[in-house]
Protein backbone atom coordinates (compact mmCIF):
# COMPACT_ATOMS: atom_id res chain seq x y z
CA UNK A 1 0.00 0.00 0.00
CA UNK A 2 1.28 3.48 -0.90
CA UNK A 3 -0.09 6.32 1.21
CA UNK A 4 1.15 9.87 0.77
CA UNK A 5 0.49 11.47 4.15
CA UNK A 6 2.70 14.54 3.90
CA UNK A 7 0.35 17.00 2.22
CA UNK A 8 1.45 19.76 4.60
CA UNK A 9 4.91 19.50 2.99
CA UNK A 10 3.55 19.54 -0.52
CA UNK A 11 0.66 18.15 -2.50
CA UNK A 12 0.38 16.23 -5.72
CA UNK A 13 -0.65 18.51 -8.58
CA UNK A 14 -4.26 18.06 -9.63
CA UNK A 15 -5.11 17.05 -13.18
CA UNK A 16 -6.82 20.40 -13.67
CA UNK A 17 -3.62 22.20 -12.62
CA UNK A 18 -1.44 20.08 -14.90
CA UNK A 19 -3.82 20.69 -17.79
CA UNK A 20 -3.85 24.44 -17.18
CA UNK A 21 -0.07 24.44 -17.01
CA UNK A 22 0.49 22.47 -20.19
CA UNK A 23 -2.25 24.48 -21.95
CA UNK A 24 -0.28 27.60 -21.09
CA UNK A 25 3.04 26.13 -22.15
CA UNK A 26 1.61 25.01 -25.51
CA UNK A 27 -0.70 27.89 -26.32
CA UNK A 28 -0.08 30.96 -24.19
CA UNK A 29 3.65 31.24 -24.37
CA UNK A 30 3.75 34.95 -25.09
CA UNK A 31 5.18 37.47 -22.70
CA UNK A 32 2.28 39.30 -21.03
CA UNK A 33 4.26 42.53 -21.37
CA UNK A 34 4.42 42.28 -25.18
CA UNK A 35 1.98 44.35 -27.17
CA UNK A 36 1.28 41.97 -30.07
CA UNK A 37 -1.64 39.54 -29.98
CA UNK A 38 0.25 36.54 -28.59
CA UNK A 39 1.52 38.66 -25.73
CA UNK A 40 -1.84 40.21 -25.04
CA UNK A 41 -3.49 36.76 -25.03
CA UNK A 42 -1.04 35.77 -22.32
CA UNK A 43 -1.87 38.97 -20.46
CA UNK A 44 -5.56 38.06 -20.64
CA UNK A 45 -4.84 34.65 -19.13
CA UNK A 46 -2.79 36.27 -16.41
CA UNK A 47 -5.58 38.64 -15.47
CA UNK A 48 -8.20 35.88 -15.63
CA UNK A 49 -6.15 33.94 -13.09
CA UNK A 50 -5.79 37.02 -10.93
CA UNK A 51 -9.56 37.53 -10.93
CA UNK A 52 -10.27 33.90 -10.07
CA UNK A 53 -7.81 33.95 -7.20
CA UNK A 54 -8.98 37.31 -5.87
CA UNK A 55 -12.57 36.06 -5.87
CA UNK A 56 -11.69 33.10 -3.68
CA UNK A 57 -10.51 35.30 -0.81
CA UNK A 58 -12.94 38.16 -1.57
CA UNK A 59 -10.19 40.55 -2.65
CA UNK A 60 -9.93 42.86 -5.65
CA UNK A 61 -7.77 41.57 -8.53
CA UNK A 62 -5.43 44.56 -8.18
CA UNK A 63 -4.74 43.50 -4.60
CA UNK A 64 -3.10 40.24 -5.72
CA UNK A 65 0.66 40.09 -6.40
CA UNK A 66 1.97 36.88 -7.92
CA UNK A 67 5.14 35.62 -6.24
CA UNK A 68 7.34 32.54 -6.16
CA UNK A 69 5.51 31.15 -3.14
CA UNK A 70 4.83 31.43 0.55
CA UNK A 71 8.29 32.43 1.68
CA UNK A 72 8.59 35.28 -0.79
CA UNK A 73 5.09 36.48 0.07
CA UNK A 74 5.90 36.43 3.78
CA UNK A 75 9.13 38.33 3.23
CA UNK A 76 7.46 40.99 1.11
CA UNK A 77 4.56 41.43 3.54
CA UNK A 78 6.87 41.90 6.51
CA UNK A 79 9.18 44.23 4.64
CA UNK A 80 6.21 46.31 3.48
CA UNK A 81 4.83 46.72 7.00
CA UNK A 82 8.28 47.37 8.45
CA UNK A 83 9.13 50.14 5.98
CA UNK A 84 5.72 51.77 6.45
CA UNK A 85 6.01 51.43 10.22
CA UNK A 86 9.51 52.85 10.34
CA UNK A 87 8.43 55.92 8.35
CA UNK A 88 5.88 56.61 11.08
CA UNK A 89 8.30 55.88 13.89
CA UNK A 90 6.57 52.58 14.66
CA UNK A 91 9.05 49.77 15.11
CA UNK A 92 7.19 47.12 17.10
CA UNK A 93 5.90 43.88 15.55
CA UNK A 94 3.74 41.19 17.16
CA UNK A 95 3.86 37.61 15.98
CA UNK A 96 3.61 34.14 17.48
CA UNK A 97 6.25 31.73 18.71
CA UNK A 98 5.38 29.01 16.23
CA UNK A 99 5.30 30.87 12.92
CA UNK A 100 6.97 29.42 9.86
CA UNK A 101 10.68 30.22 9.55
CA UNK A 102 9.88 32.48 6.59
CA UNK A 103 8.30 34.75 9.19
CA UNK A 104 10.56 34.10 12.19
CA UNK A 105 13.84 34.47 10.31
CA UNK A 106 12.61 37.67 8.65
CA UNK A 107 11.62 39.00 12.07
CA UNK A 108 15.11 38.16 13.37
CA UNK A 109 16.55 40.25 10.58
CA UNK A 110 14.21 43.14 11.37
CA UNK A 111 15.13 42.87 15.04
CA UNK A 112 18.79 43.31 14.10
CA UNK A 113 17.71 46.42 12.24
CA UNK A 114 16.18 48.03 15.28
CA UNK A 115 12.68 46.58 15.38
CA UNK A 116 11.26 45.18 18.57
CA UNK A 117 9.52 41.84 18.24
CA UNK A 118 6.95 40.34 20.60
CA UNK A 119 6.26 36.64 20.07
CA UNK A 120 2.97 35.64 21.64
CA UNK A 121 2.87 32.27 23.39
CA UNK A 122 0.75 29.64 21.67
CA UNK A 123 0.02 27.60 24.80
CA UNK A 124 -0.46 23.86 25.05
CA UNK A 125 -3.30 23.77 22.53
CA UNK A 126 -1.30 25.67 19.90
CA UNK A 127 -3.62 28.68 19.75
CA UNK A 128 -2.83 32.28 20.67
CA UNK A 129 -4.99 34.09 23.23
CA UNK A 130 -6.78 37.22 22.11
CA UNK A 131 -6.41 39.00 25.44
CA UNK A 132 -2.66 38.47 25.24
CA UNK A 133 -2.62 39.82 21.71
CA UNK A 134 -4.57 42.91 22.67
CA UNK A 135 -2.38 43.50 25.72
CA UNK A 136 0.74 43.28 23.54
CA UNK A 137 -0.39 46.01 21.12
CA UNK A 138 1.40 49.30 21.74
CA UNK A 139 1.35 52.81 20.31
CA UNK A 140 4.34 51.92 18.15
CA UNK A 141 3.07 48.54 16.90
CA UNK A 142 3.18 48.56 13.11
CA UNK A 143 2.26 44.95 12.37
CA UNK A 144 0.59 41.85 13.75
CA UNK A 145 1.54 38.73 11.79
CA UNK A 146 -0.12 35.49 12.86
CA UNK A 147 -0.42 32.39 10.71
CA UNK A 148 -3.91 31.18 9.81
CA UNK A 149 -3.06 27.51 10.42
CA UNK A 150 0.15 26.01 11.69
CA UNK A 151 2.14 23.87 9.27
CA UNK A 152 3.21 21.27 11.81
CA UNK A 153 0.32 20.80 14.21
CA UNK A 154 -2.43 22.26 12.03
CA UNK A 155 -3.98 24.42 14.72
CA UNK A 156 -6.23 27.17 13.38
CA UNK A 157 -5.92 30.65 14.86
CA UNK A 158 -8.93 32.93 15.50
CA UNK A 159 -8.23 35.03 12.41
CA UNK A 160 -11.51 37.02 12.33
CA UNK A 161 -11.08 38.01 15.97
CA UNK A 162 -7.43 38.93 15.43
CA UNK A 163 -8.47 41.02 12.43
CA UNK A 164 -11.10 42.83 14.48
CA UNK A 165 -8.60 43.62 17.25
CA UNK A 166 -6.04 44.92 14.75
CA UNK A 167 -8.67 47.06 13.05
CA UNK A 168 -9.75 48.50 16.40
CA UNK A 169 -6.17 49.50 17.18
CA UNK A 170 -5.26 50.60 13.68
CA UNK A 171 -2.53 48.00 13.31
CA UNK A 172 -1.77 46.25 10.01
CA UNK A 173 -2.63 42.54 10.11
CA UNK A 174 -0.78 40.00 7.98
CA UNK A 175 -1.48 36.29 8.01
CA UNK A 176 0.65 33.50 6.59
CA UNK A 177 -2.20 31.44 5.17
CA UNK A 178 -0.01 29.00 3.28
CA UNK A 179 -1.57 25.98 4.99
CA UNK A 180 -5.07 27.44 4.90
CA UNK A 181 -5.78 28.78 1.41
CA UNK A 182 -7.76 26.14 -0.47
CA UNK A 183 -8.49 24.34 2.79
CA UNK A 184 -10.36 26.90 4.89
CA UNK A 185 -12.81 29.59 3.84
CA UNK A 186 -11.10 32.99 3.77
CA UNK A 187 -12.70 36.40 3.33
CA UNK A 188 -10.11 39.14 3.64
CA UNK A 189 -12.78 41.84 3.91
CA UNK A 190 -14.96 40.18 6.54
CA UNK A 191 -11.89 39.03 8.48
CA UNK A 192 -10.10 42.38 8.30
CA UNK A 193 -6.97 40.88 6.80
CA UNK A 194 -4.59 43.51 5.38
CA UNK A 195 -2.03 41.13 3.88
CA UNK A 196 -2.10 37.40 3.24
CA UNK A 197 0.47 34.91 1.93
CA UNK A 198 -0.37 31.78 -0.05
CA UNK A 199 1.49 29.04 -1.89
CA UNK A 200 0.07 26.98 -4.77
CA UNK A 201 1.76 23.69 -4.00
CA UNK A 202 -0.16 23.32 -0.74
CA UNK A 203 -3.46 23.05 -2.61
CA UNK A 204 -2.50 20.78 -5.52
CA UNK A 205 -0.96 23.54 -7.58
CA UNK A 206 2.66 23.74 -8.75
CA UNK A 207 5.73 24.52 -6.65
CA UNK A 208 7.43 27.86 -7.07
CA UNK A 209 4.18 29.79 -7.40
CA UNK A 210 2.22 31.75 -4.84
CA UNK A 211 0.63 35.07 -4.20
CA UNK A 212 0.51 37.90 -1.76
CA UNK A 213 -2.68 39.82 -1.10
CA UNK A 214 -2.08 43.42 -0.09
CA UNK A 215 -5.13 45.51 0.78
CA UNK A 216 -5.70 48.60 -1.29
CA UNK A 217 -4.21 51.53 0.60
CA UNK A 218 -1.03 49.69 1.58
CA UNK A 219 1.75 50.14 -0.95
CA UNK A 220 3.79 46.95 -1.35
CA UNK A 221 7.56 47.35 -1.10
CA UNK A 222 9.66 45.50 -3.65
CA UNK A 223 11.88 42.56 -2.85
CA UNK A 224 12.76 42.27 -6.53
CA UNK A 225 13.50 45.35 -8.57
CA UNK A 226 13.34 45.44 -12.34
CA UNK A 227 10.52 45.60 -14.86
CA UNK A 228 7.03 46.91 -14.32
CA UNK A 229 5.34 43.56 -13.83
CA UNK A 230 2.80 43.23 -11.00
CA UNK A 231 2.16 46.96 -11.08
CA UNK A 232 5.83 47.53 -10.48
CA UNK A 233 5.80 45.72 -7.15
CA UNK A 234 7.39 42.46 -8.18
CA UNK A 235 9.70 42.47 -11.17
CA UNK A 236 10.34 39.52 -13.45
CA UNK A 237 8.41 37.98 -16.32
CA UNK A 238 5.32 36.38 -14.83
CA UNK A 239 5.36 32.62 -14.30
CA UNK A 240 2.21 32.22 -16.32
CA UNK A 241 2.20 28.39 -16.49
CA UNK A 242 2.47 28.33 -12.71
CA UNK A 243 -0.10 31.07 -12.21
CA UNK A 244 -2.67 29.47 -14.51
CA UNK A 245 -2.13 26.12 -12.78
CA UNK A 246 -2.44 27.76 -9.36
CA UNK A 247 -5.72 29.34 -10.37
CA UNK A 248 -7.10 26.04 -11.68
CA UNK A 249 -5.98 24.18 -8.56
CA UNK A 250 -7.46 26.76 -6.23
CA UNK A 251 -10.78 26.81 -8.05
CA UNK A 252 -11.04 23.07 -7.66
CA UNK A 253 -9.89 23.08 -4.05
CA UNK A 254 -12.47 25.67 -3.08
CA UNK A 255 -15.28 23.89 -4.93
CA UNK A 256 -14.59 20.68 -3.01
CA UNK A 257 -13.58 22.28 0.28
CA UNK A 258 -16.62 21.57 2.39
CA UNK A 259 -17.05 18.00 1.23
CA UNK A 260 -13.31 17.28 1.53
CA UNK A 261 -13.07 18.77 4.99
CA UNK A 262 -16.01 16.71 6.25
CA UNK A 263 -14.38 13.55 4.98
CA UNK A 264 -10.83 14.36 6.07
CA UNK A 265 -11.80 15.48 9.55
CA UNK A 266 -13.67 12.22 10.05
CA UNK A 267 -10.55 10.25 9.07
CA UNK A 268 -8.37 12.60 11.15
CA UNK A 269 -10.45 11.93 14.25
CA UNK A 270 -10.35 8.21 13.50
CA UNK A 271 -6.54 8.34 13.23
CA UNK A 272 -6.28 10.36 16.44
CA UNK A 273 -8.40 7.90 18.36
CA UNK A 274 -6.47 4.94 16.92
CA UNK A 275 -3.04 6.38 17.66
CA UNK A 276 -4.13 7.47 21.13
CA UNK A 277 -4.22 3.77 22.01
CA UNK A 278 -0.43 3.78 21.92
CA UNK A 279 0.69 4.10 25.54
CA UNK A 280 2.64 7.20 26.56
CA UNK A 281 1.76 9.15 23.47
CA UNK A 282 0.05 12.51 23.06
CA UNK A 283 -1.65 14.48 20.33
CA UNK A 284 0.14 17.76 19.65
CA UNK A 285 -2.18 20.75 19.34
CA UNK A 286 -5.89 21.20 19.85
CA UNK A 287 -7.96 18.14 18.89
CA UNK A 288 -10.71 20.04 17.05
CA UNK A 289 -9.43 23.49 16.15
CA UNK A 290 -7.05 22.06 13.56
CA UNK A 291 -6.81 21.46 9.82
CA UNK A 292 -8.96 18.58 8.62
CA UNK A 293 -6.01 16.54 7.39
CA UNK A 294 -3.54 17.11 10.22
CA UNK A 295 -2.55 14.57 12.87
CA UNK A 296 0.56 15.19 14.97
CA UNK A 297 1.66 12.88 17.79
CA UNK A 298 4.57 12.57 20.16
CA UNK A 299 5.65 9.11 21.27
CA UNK A 300 7.81 8.87 24.33
CA UNK A 301 11.11 6.97 24.33
CA UNK A 302 11.88 7.03 20.62
CA UNK A 303 13.21 9.34 17.95
CA UNK A 304 11.21 10.50 14.94
CA UNK A 305 13.53 9.73 12.05
CA UNK A 306 13.35 6.01 12.68
CA UNK A 307 9.56 6.20 12.65
CA UNK A 308 9.60 7.91 9.26
CA UNK A 309 12.04 5.51 7.64
CA UNK A 310 10.20 2.45 8.93
CA UNK A 311 6.87 3.88 7.76
CA UNK A 312 8.47 4.60 4.38
CA UNK A 313 9.39 0.90 4.20
CA UNK A 314 5.67 0.24 4.51
CA UNK A 315 4.77 2.75 1.82
CA UNK A 316 3.68 5.56 4.12
CA UNK A 317 5.17 9.03 3.57
CA UNK A 318 5.05 11.17 6.70
CA UNK A 319 7.05 13.81 8.52
CA UNK A 320 8.54 14.50 11.95
CA UNK A 321 9.62 17.41 14.09
CA UNK A 322 12.70 15.59 15.32
CA UNK A 323 16.05 17.33 15.03
CA UNK A 324 17.52 14.42 13.10
CA UNK A 325 15.11 14.78 10.21
CA UNK A 326 16.10 18.37 9.57
CA UNK A 327 19.78 18.29 10.28
CA UNK A 328 19.26 20.77 13.11
CA UNK A 329 20.29 20.26 16.72
CA UNK A 330 16.98 21.23 18.26
CA UNK A 331 13.66 19.58 17.56
CA UNK A 332 10.79 21.55 16.04
CA UNK A 333 10.30 25.05 17.43
CA UNK A 334 6.57 24.46 17.08
CA UNK A 335 6.59 21.51 19.47
CA UNK A 336 8.83 23.38 21.90
CA UNK A 337 6.41 26.36 21.68
CA UNK A 338 3.48 24.23 22.81
CA UNK A 339 5.53 23.07 25.77
CA UNK A 340 6.80 19.69 24.63
CA UNK A 341 10.25 19.22 26.12
CA UNK A 342 13.12 18.09 23.88
CA UNK A 343 12.90 14.44 24.96
CA UNK A 344 9.38 14.00 23.58
CA UNK A 345 9.58 16.59 20.81
CA UNK A 346 12.19 14.35 19.15
CA UNK A 347 9.69 11.49 18.98
CA UNK A 348 7.03 13.20 16.93
CA UNK A 349 5.12 12.16 13.84
CA UNK A 350 3.09 14.38 11.53
CA UNK A 351 0.55 12.82 9.20
CA UNK A 352 -1.14 15.23 6.82
CA UNK A 353 -3.55 13.16 4.80
CA UNK A 354 -5.02 14.01 1.42
CA UNK A 355 -8.62 14.37 0.28
CA UNK A 356 -8.68 10.83 -1.12
CA UNK A 357 -7.65 9.08 2.11
CA UNK A 358 -9.79 6.04 2.90
CA UNK A 359 -10.77 4.38 6.17
CA UNK A 360 -8.89 1.29 5.05
CA UNK A 361 -5.74 3.34 4.57
CA UNK A 362 -6.25 4.93 7.97
CA UNK A 363 -6.43 1.45 9.51
CA UNK A 364 -3.20 0.52 7.76
CA UNK A 365 -1.54 3.69 9.07
CA UNK A 366 -2.69 3.02 12.64
CA UNK A 367 -1.47 -0.60 12.57
CA UNK A 368 1.84 0.40 10.99
CA UNK A 369 2.53 3.22 13.45
CA UNK A 370 1.70 0.96 16.40
CA UNK A 371 4.13 -1.70 15.16
CA UNK A 372 6.88 0.76 14.31
CA UNK A 373 6.65 2.52 17.69
CA UNK A 374 6.70 -0.81 19.52
CA UNK A 375 9.71 -1.96 17.51
CA UNK A 376 11.76 1.18 18.16
CA UNK A 377 10.83 1.15 21.83
CA UNK A 378 11.93 -2.49 22.11
CA UNK A 379 15.58 -1.46 21.92
CA UNK A 380 15.46 2.07 23.26
CA UNK A 381 17.48 2.58 26.46
CA UNK A 382 15.22 5.53 27.27
CA UNK A 383 12.12 3.39 27.03
CA UNK A 384 13.80 0.74 29.23
CA UNK A 385 14.57 3.32 31.91
CA UNK A 386 11.00 4.58 31.76
CA UNK A 387 9.43 1.14 32.03
CA UNK A 388 11.94 0.08 34.74
CA UNK A 389 10.86 3.10 36.76
CA UNK A 390 14.33 4.69 36.65
CA UNK A 391 12.84 7.69 34.86
CA UNK A 392 9.41 9.23 35.03
CA UNK A 393 7.13 9.27 32.06
CA UNK A 394 6.42 12.71 30.64
CA UNK A 395 3.45 11.60 28.55
CA UNK A 396 0.94 9.55 30.52
Amino acid sequence: MQIYADNAATTKMSDAAIEAMTDCMRNWYGNPSSLYTIGQKAKEKLEEAREEIAKVINAEPREIIFTSGGSESDNQALLTAAIDGKSKGKKHIISSAFEHHAILHTLNKLEKNGFEITLLPVHENGIIRLDELEAAIREDTCLVTIMTANNEIGTIQPISEIGAICKKHGVVFHTDAVQAVGHLPIDVKAQNIDMLSASAHKFHGPKGTGFLYVRKGIIPKNLIEGGAQERGKRAGTENLPGIMAMSAALKEAVAGMEHNNDHMSEIRDYLISGLSEIPHSALNGDAKQRLAGNVNFSFEGIEGEGILLLLDQRGISASSGSACTSGALDPSHVLLAIGRIHDVAHGSLRLSVGEDITKKEADYIITSVKEVVAHLRSFSPVWRDLTDGKKEFILQ
Partner: protein, 127 residues
Protein backbone atom coordinates in the same frame (compact mmCIF):
# COMPACT_ATOMS: atom_id res chain seq x y z
CA UNK B 1 20.38 9.78 -4.22
CA UNK B 2 19.04 8.18 -1.11
CA UNK B 3 19.70 9.78 2.24
CA UNK B 4 21.57 6.71 3.50
CA UNK B 5 23.76 4.03 1.96
CA UNK B 6 22.35 0.51 1.56
CA UNK B 7 24.63 -0.59 4.42
CA UNK B 8 23.17 2.00 6.78
CA UNK B 9 19.64 0.98 5.82
CA UNK B 10 20.52 -2.69 6.24
CA UNK B 11 21.87 -2.14 9.76
CA UNK B 12 18.95 0.13 10.62
CA UNK B 13 16.30 -2.30 9.38
CA UNK B 14 18.08 -5.39 10.74
CA UNK B 15 20.27 -4.23 13.58
CA UNK B 16 22.88 -6.80 14.66
CA UNK B 17 23.41 -7.55 18.35
CA UNK B 18 20.29 -5.86 19.66
CA UNK B 19 19.44 -6.31 23.29
CA UNK B 20 21.04 -6.49 26.71
CA UNK B 21 23.52 -8.78 28.43
CA UNK B 22 22.61 -9.69 31.99
CA UNK B 23 25.62 -9.38 34.30
CA UNK B 24 27.65 -7.76 31.57
CA UNK B 25 31.38 -7.32 32.23
CA UNK B 26 31.27 -3.79 30.87
CA UNK B 27 28.44 -1.32 30.26
CA UNK B 28 28.75 2.06 28.57
CA UNK B 29 26.08 4.66 28.01
CA UNK B 30 26.62 7.94 26.15
CA UNK B 31 24.52 10.78 24.77
CA UNK B 32 21.36 12.34 26.14
CA UNK B 33 17.70 12.43 25.30
CA UNK B 34 17.72 16.22 24.89
CA UNK B 35 19.99 15.91 21.88
CA UNK B 36 18.06 12.96 20.59
CA UNK B 37 20.69 10.21 20.82
CA UNK B 38 21.50 7.71 23.55
CA UNK B 39 23.56 4.57 23.05
CA UNK B 40 24.07 1.82 25.58
CA UNK B 41 26.57 -0.97 25.02
CA UNK B 42 26.90 -4.23 26.96
CA UNK B 43 30.04 -6.37 26.76
CA UNK B 44 30.76 -9.96 27.75
CA UNK B 45 34.50 -10.38 28.06
CA UNK B 46 36.44 -13.57 28.69
CA UNK B 47 40.16 -13.50 29.07
CA UNK B 48 40.36 -9.92 27.67
CA UNK B 49 38.46 -10.98 24.57
CA UNK B 50 35.01 -9.64 23.69
CA UNK B 51 32.91 -12.78 23.41
CA UNK B 52 29.56 -11.05 23.18
CA UNK B 53 28.24 -7.54 22.69
CA UNK B 54 24.72 -6.12 22.70
CA UNK B 55 23.34 -2.63 22.33
CA UNK B 56 20.29 -0.46 22.82
CA UNK B 57 19.91 2.86 21.03
CA UNK B 58 17.52 5.79 21.18
CA UNK B 59 18.14 7.88 18.11
CA UNK B 60 17.87 8.22 14.39
CA UNK B 61 18.53 5.55 11.79
CA UNK B 62 22.22 6.42 11.49
CA UNK B 63 22.62 6.20 15.27
CA UNK B 64 21.03 2.74 15.27
CA UNK B 65 23.10 1.63 12.26
CA UNK B 66 26.32 3.06 13.77
CA UNK B 67 25.82 1.17 17.01
CA UNK B 68 24.98 -2.00 15.13
CA UNK B 69 28.10 -1.71 12.96
CA UNK B 70 30.32 -0.84 15.91
CA UNK B 71 29.24 -3.98 17.76
CA UNK B 72 30.00 -6.06 14.68
CA UNK B 73 33.45 -4.51 14.36
CA UNK B 74 34.54 -5.26 17.91
CA UNK B 75 32.94 -8.65 18.41
CA UNK B 76 35.67 -11.26 19.01
CA UNK B 77 38.36 -8.61 19.34
CA UNK B 78 40.86 -8.26 22.17
CA UNK B 79 40.07 -5.37 24.52
CA UNK B 80 43.20 -3.45 23.54
CA UNK B 81 42.29 -3.73 19.86
CA UNK B 82 38.67 -2.74 20.44
CA UNK B 83 39.87 0.39 22.21
CA UNK B 84 41.41 1.46 18.90
CA UNK B 85 38.01 1.57 17.17
CA UNK B 86 37.47 4.97 15.58
CA UNK B 87 34.31 6.69 14.44
CA UNK B 88 35.87 6.86 10.99
CA UNK B 89 36.12 3.10 10.85
CA UNK B 90 32.45 2.80 11.81
CA UNK B 91 31.38 5.33 9.19
CA UNK B 92 33.55 3.72 6.51
CA UNK B 93 32.18 0.27 7.28
CA UNK B 94 28.73 1.75 6.69
CA UNK B 95 29.85 3.10 3.29
CA UNK B 96 29.73 6.61 4.68
CA UNK B 97 27.28 8.80 6.58
CA UNK B 98 25.88 12.21 5.63
CA UNK B 99 28.14 14.96 7.07
CA UNK B 100 25.58 16.10 9.65
CA UNK B 101 25.20 12.49 10.86
CA UNK B 102 28.90 11.87 11.53
CA UNK B 103 28.29 12.54 15.21
CA UNK B 104 26.35 9.25 15.33
CA UNK B 105 29.54 7.35 14.53
CA UNK B 106 31.39 9.40 17.16
CA UNK B 107 28.76 8.40 19.68
CA UNK B 108 29.20 4.71 18.73
CA UNK B 109 32.96 4.98 19.27
CA UNK B 110 32.39 6.68 22.61
CA UNK B 111 29.84 4.10 23.72
CA UNK B 112 32.21 1.22 22.96
CA UNK B 113 35.05 3.01 24.74
CA UNK B 114 32.84 3.74 27.76
CA UNK B 115 31.89 0.06 28.02
CA UNK B 116 35.53 -1.01 27.72
CA UNK B 117 36.62 1.52 30.35
CA UNK B 118 33.86 0.22 32.62
CA UNK B 119 35.19 -3.29 32.12
CA UNK B 120 38.74 -2.21 32.92
CA UNK B 121 37.60 -0.35 36.00
CA UNK B 122 35.60 -3.32 37.26
CA UNK B 123 38.55 -5.61 36.54
CA UNK B 124 41.01 -3.45 38.46
CA UNK B 125 38.59 -3.25 41.37
CA UNK B 126 38.49 -7.06 41.48
CA UNK B 127 42.27 -7.38 41.44
Amino acid sequence: MALYSDKVMDHFLQPRNLGVIENADGIGEVGNAKCGDIMKMYLKIDDDTITDVKFETFGCASAIASSSMATELIKGQRVEDALKLTNKAVAEALDGLPAYKMHCSVLAEEAIRAALEDYKKKKSEKE
